[in-house]
Symmetry: C2
Subunit: 136 residues, 2 copies
């Protein structure tokens, strides 16, 4: 199988369980950008069972909650696209008014250059907070 | 309040309940594009209770399921962005290999012109299918 999310972690591993993993995406201008990836090669949310969908979304929302606490973004963006890589994964993206594309989606033409004013969070602390949120 | 999703329906109403509504978006090149909108003015998924989040996502996934059945898309795209309009709403977008942006996100620079080969679904039938999926 030539799927890049079957063959590779897809980022820095922050947390994983039997069904999902959470990885950190080192995207310039987007500190806190995480992805939540279903471990098995499944294309659509409605290819999962209802219980699996609820489980995956609980992890997405736990990551959102931790990113809001740690980074106080103007908005959180959530997206499951997967046109190029049809293996279920959710983008969880903290947005700030001075980020390269705000208020447009991160996939649009940039409005301003990347600034280095915001640094990436410390990954061990982020990983710990996600684990704590999921153990609650 | 100047929020356009508080003041307007936001599209052709397909279904509504106490907490959410589903509207049809007449987007050229994107037959089947729906939005699921939380009725109250709430910004983030993690501002909802867990039960409310599950309810909203059940409706998103019911719409996805109906659109897959009716339109057989190459992929479904789901997104909750709301940077410009911070009132919870989900985009549910059937994607096809010949649509204007495929495989890129619909917010990127178009790759090809809109073709009229695919027509918009009949809205009464779509509304009926969504209602049936939600009554199951």
């Amino acid at each position: 199988m030539s799927c890049e999310l079957c063959n590779r972690t897809g980022g820095d591993l922050l947390w994983q369980g039997a069904f999902c993993r959470v990885v950190y995406v080192e995207e310039p201008g987007y500190p806190g950008f995480c992805r939540v990836i279903w471990q098995a090669h499944v294309k659509e949310m409605t290819d999962l069972s209802e219980a699996e969908r609820i489980h995956l979304m609980e992890i997405v929302f736990a990551v959102e909650s931790v990113l809001r606490e740690q980074l106080d973004p103007a908005k959180i963006n959530l997206a499951s696209l997967g046109n190029a890589v049809p293996h279920l994964h959710w983008h969880v993206v903290p947005r700030h008014a001075d980020d390269p594309h705000f208020p447009q989606p991160i996939w649009s033409t940039p409005k301003r250059p990347v600034t280095s004013d915001r640094s990436h969070p410390a990954l061990p602390a982020l990983a710990g907070a996600i684990a704590a949120a999921l153990d609650e």
